[in-house]
């Protein structure tokens, strides 16, 4: 009873409230609650996007450095969720891939439902040598196929990486394009071709 009174009294004065709060407050939880209140559906960007999924939560809680054991387990889960094309063909048309790589569209509230998005690739990566306007958040992919060849294993790796980069590096900055439904199977195939087709400018000398 006395303890309770003290708490109430204490909370009633601001300075005291802050001192108490210092030890117990979870600013992350408060931030999430606040965002859930403030963020609203607009167009295709629905309000539920502000909820973190399990993987995002682990990365958020560990500042993108999850303990190794957890990371490995979750990477395995992500890997298992990758859907490879049933026909086994992983390479599409590199020219279509280049167009996709250029496009930064998709999944914003100003994008229309049902209109295919782009790959956003040049936003972060150097890719074809002719395009000088490229970002540096991700590594350069110039000569990607030239350095690795295009054996079935390499194709599978490239497809999987675009489909779900988190299967290879749990808290990678790269979106999970297939997993999120941001790119279709045939779009990913075209991007694989852009990276691996010997005719693609990515692999030119």
């Amino acid at each position: 009873m006395t303890a309770m009174k003290t708490t109430i009294l204490c909370a009633a004065t601001l300075a005291c409230g802050a001192a108490l709060a210092e030890e117990v407050r979870d600013y992350r939880a408060e931030a999430i609650a606040m965002m859930k209140r403030d963020f609203k559906t607009r167009g295709i960007a629905t309000a539920d996007r502000v909820h973190e999924d399990g993987l995002q939560a682990i990365c958020n809680r560990t500042s993108d450095h999850p303990p190794k054991a957890i990371a490995e387990r979750l990477e395995r889960d992500q890997m298992e969720s990758i859907k490879y094309p049933p026909d086994g063909k992983l390479m599409g048309d590199w020219k279509a891939g280049e167009k996709l790589a250029q496009s930064g569209r998709g999944m914003t509230w100003s994008d229309k439902a049902g209109v295919p998005g782009g790959g956003n690739c040049y936003n972060c990566h150097q890719i074809g040598p002719q395009e000088t306007s490229f970002g540096t958040i991700g590594p350069s992919l110039y000569q990607f196929g030239k350095l690795r060849g295009n054996t079935p294993d390499v194709q599978k790796y490239a497809y999987g990486k675009i489909y779900n980069a988190k299967a290879f590096n749990l808290c990678s900055a790269m979106p999970r394009f297939g997993h999120a439904g941001a790119l279709t199977e045939s779009q990913i195939k075209d991007l694989v071709a852009l990276l691996l087709d010997p005719q693609s400018p990515v692999n030119s000398k």
């Binding site: 601001l14 300075a15 409230g17 802050a18 709060a21 407050r25 600013y27 992350r28 408060e30 931030a31 999430i32 606040m34 965002m35 209140r37 403030d38 963020f39 609203k40 559906t41 607009r42 960007a45 629905t46 309000a47 996007r49 502000v50 909820h51 973190e52 999924d53 993987l55 995002q56 990365c59 958020n60 500042s63 999944m107 914003t108 509230w109 100003s110 040049y122 936003n123 972060c124 150097q126 074809g128 040598p129 002719q130 395009e131 000088t132 306007s133 490229f134 970002g135 540096t136 958040i137 110039y142 988190k166 900055a173 979106p175 999970r176 999120a180 439904g181 941001a182």
Partner: protein, 287 residues
């Protein structure tokens, strides 16, 4: 007569240059011969624009909005005769000088932290009789209208030109708001798994050719603040920091943050307080 002709010519050259640069959509740089070379260099358009911006900063059309905002601040009366002279931006009723660089801050009359835009709108509703729901209908400028509150923000911001950012971090609510803002900055979610920090949390990164400031660092955090509110040449209207935050979340593939919401105030508190001590140059100009 000869003199008159030469003045005319000089003027004509200037406007012509203006027209070409301002109205054509910026095109991508022409592809140079080699791939590796441009990795570090800014592209030609960016460099050209920087030169152009320097020339324009002296005659920034933002001044037109500043003048309009000043007029509203000084002369407009609310339905019961109140005016913005009663508005306390944190430094006392009616004090505008230096107020912009000292917000967000805690305001005792409302018991919460408000950023500059939120506070100014609050005052315009309270004293000048603007309706909050009308402001919310068009919070941001477009090419047919720059709303009054945006002009007032431009005026208030200009009154902090060349002053150091000094966002207070004393009141417990100010400290709390900063901490929540930092969490929002780091929060990954949405279909692309992006947070603010995905692009603005490390050094030396670019999207396409656009340099990305690391907003965790004071010297770079100023870059999220500098130039806002800004006159956007494509379209010819003023955009505010609230707009900038809104558009960041759009590109982050998030849902839309409500205008003047707590989340945006928190984020602005984190980002602005991180830039404390840096000098604000006043309303800017953007392409």
């Amino acid at each position: 007569m000869k003199q008159r002709l030469s003045t005319l010519m000089a003027a004509a050259v200037m406007t012509a240059a203006f027209a070409v640069q301002a109205q054509q959509p910026m095109k991508k740089a022409p592809p140079p011969a080699k791939a590796a070379a441009p990795a570090k260099a800014k592209d030609g358009i960016t460099a050209e624009f920087e030169k152009f911006r320097e020339v324009l900063e002296e005659d920034n059309p933002a001044e037109l909005f500043e003048a309009k905002g000043e007029d509203i601040w000084k002369h407009k009366k609310g339905p019961d005769g109140a005016s913005m002279a009663q508005c306390d931006l944190g430094l006392g009723a009616g004090v505008v000088k230096g107020a912009y660089v000292q917000m967000p801050r805690y305001f005792a009359d409302v018991g919460q932290v408000m950023d500059a835009e939120r506070r100014i709108v609050h005052c315009m509703v309270k004293y000048l009789g603007y309706k909050e729901e009308d402001i919310r209908k068009q919070p941001f400028s477009n090419d047919s209208k720059t709303p009054d509150h945006v002009s007032v923000i431009t005026y208030v911001a200009a009154q902090s030109r060349n002053m150091k950012i000094a966002v207070p971090q004393k009141h417990p609510k100010e400290i709390e708001t900063f901490r929540i803002g930092r969490e929002i900055f780091d929060y990954r979610a949405g279909p692309y798994d992006f947070s603010c920090a995905t692009c603005h949390g490390s050094d030396g990164m670019r999207i396409r050719t656009q340099d990305l400031p690391n907003l965790r660092k004071p010297a770079e955090a100023i870059r999220a603040y500098q130039g806002w509110p800004g006159y956007r040449m494509t379209g010819g209207f003023m955009l505010t920091q609230q707009w900038r935050m809104n558009d960041c979340f759009r590109q982050q593939r998030f849902p839309e943050p409500a205008y003047l919401s707590d989340s945006i105030t928190a984020l602005l508190t984190y980002m602005t307080a991180t830039a404390n001590g840096q000098v604000y140059k006043g309303p800017g100009i953007k392409r």
